[in-house]
């Protein structure tokens, strides 16, 4: 009983399947594809297009390299400026950006008077910190920093005065700082006062100017890179006009048609970024010898910092993005213009 029931159900199922098969094999049936298949084929098409674009890049090595080189030069310029600024900042890092007042005392000031003067200044609310540098300490530091120790040995007596280094509490208000400097200058013990505020300010302003300049240049030249890629991809599209027409007529979506061009743009960007990094590296290697020589003549062991891993990643990723953006702009615009829509 049970067996025959199962048997009957089996036969029924088989008949149904056979009927479906018959229905499918007769006449025109719209071709359907499963969702999993679609996903796999979408990935497959991406892989295919990536490989094909890379292949196309190397089929015309001269033209591709030239385009990539133009992109590289456009990117290397602002990157080099940025790197130069970074090195400049490293070179002047000895000067911390804090304004400082140096009070040079009269050479024949009595030690007791100096001590009480220092105590008085320490109690001044406008001053955060006072450091006393005796003539002996000043001489020792000068010898160490300048490398001119032997010259000083030849002198009979220490030419350096005692110095008080003051750290003002209020660093922002330059008028107040100026007033403080004038007040100190009026004291009997003071020979002269140097407020190194202007120099520090100029240095920061100079660095800021350089940064703005390099940022502006980067924006302009990035725009240039996008235009270069747009033009290159436009030519690619023009060359494959017939193919695009056919693909559209057999039901290819605009995204499908666009895909290989996006990968081409990505290729140009990546190659351009890589070359830009190599250009930077070459530039730094070229300059590092003379810079090291110059530094050693100043008794410094300063060396030029080259483009690092971060620069490499930033340049290639940025360039790839620019390439992709340019390709997308060109493809969207020019593929739509090719009949049929």
């Amino acid at each position: 009983m049970k067996y025959s029931q199962t048997r009957a159900a089996q036969t029924q199922r088989r008949n149904k399947a056979a009927a479906e098969k018959r229905a499918r094999s007769t006449g025109a049936v719209v071709a359907r594809t499963g969702f999993g298949d679609l996903w796999r084929s979408w990935l497959g098409h991406h892989r295919e297009m990536a490989v094909e674009s890379l292949h196309r890049f190397f089929v015309t090595p001269m033209a591709s390299t030239l385009t990539a080189l133009v992109i590289a030069i456009a990117l290397a310029l602002p990157a080099a400026l940025q790197l130069g600024l970074l090195n400049f900042q490293r070179a002047v890092a000895g000067w911390d950006g804090q304004p400082q007042i140096s009070v040079f005392l009269h050479k024949d000031a009595k030690e007791g008077a100096v001590r009480s003067y220092t105590e008085k200044l320490r109690e001044d609310p406008a001053i955060a910190e006072v450091t006393y540098i005796s003539p002996e300490m000043a001489l020792a530091e000068f010898e160490r920093a300048s490398g001119l120790g032997e010259v000083l040995m030849g002198l009979d007596n220490n030419p350096l005065p005692a110095v008080l280094l003051l750290r003002p509490r209020d660093l922002q208000d330059s008028a107040k700082l100026q007033a403080l400097a004038e007040k100190l200058d009026a004291q009997a013990l003071t020979d002269s006062v140097v407020l190194d505020l202007a120099w520090v300010q100029r240095l920061t302003q100079l660095t800021q100017l350089g940064q703005r300049l390099s940022a502006g240049l980067a924006v302009l030249l990035s725009l240039g890179v996008i235009l270069i890629v747009i033009n290159t991809i436009r030519l690619h599209i023009e060359n494959r006009r017939e193919e695009i027409r056919v693909v559209k007529l057999v039901g290819g979506t605009n995204a499908f048609v666009r895909r290989p061009f996006l990968y081409s743009g990505l290729c140009y960007g990546l190659a351009g970024g890589l070359l830009a990094w190599l250009l930077l590296l070459a530039g730094v290697l070229l300059l590092s010898g003379p810079v090291a020589g110059l530094a050693s003549s100043y008794d410094s062991n300063y060396t030029l910092a080259g483009p690092g891993l971060n620069d490499f990643l930033g340049l290639t990723a940025g360039a790839a993005l620019l390439g992709l953006l340019g390709a997308w702009l060109a493809a969207t615009r020019h593929i739509r213009a090719i009949e049929p829509c």
Binding site: A28, A31, T33, D37, S41, W42, G44, V247
Partner: protein, 228 residues
Amino acid sequence: MITFDHVNKRYASGQDALARVSLEIPRGDMVFITGHSGAGKSTLLRLLTAIERPTKGTILVAGQNLNRLRNHQIPYYRRNLGIVFQNHQLLSDRSVFDNIALPLSVTGCNRRETGRRVRAALDKVGLLHKEKQNPMVLSGGEQQRVGIARAVVNKPAILVADEPTGNLDSQLSREIMQLFADFNAVGVTVLVASHDLELVAYMRQRVLTLQEGQLIYDGVASREVLPN
């Protein structure tokens, strides 16, 4: 299957390429469209394949109103059509196999299924042994067969051909037409535009004749009743 209702197509130049054309093509029919060049054959096919939109009137294909088709839906609509061109539009940078596989690759068909269907299509047009060749080394008749294989590989419900025998001699033309008749026999609706009246008469199928954008004849043609 295909309905044109008072369809007008006016180009920017002000010329009416089609004027108030109404016609009805049932599912599974085989229909020829004839007329001199400039009579509106190509315009009719361009409207049917959604390359252009009508100025006035409605076109229904398999119950779908083409006027309501949005631009992004057009590729999906075209996947239900097989289109054969006069100059076959084969791509010279890839093999016969890859040319035929193109409509399958845009729909995202897997590799195994693609291979199976492409070979089935090649088998139907009798070129199974040429799948690895470049289409440019084939003869004109063979190239057109490849074009037909590409049009049918997706198993479309409708097959549209614009002057498919334009560059072929009469023997080859008849073979190509027989191929279309074979597809029609398994249920595909076939629409062929041709100016070769002799060939059309030989096929003894329904004929639509256009003249200056108007439908002037609709019936089964034999050589005697065809307008010259």
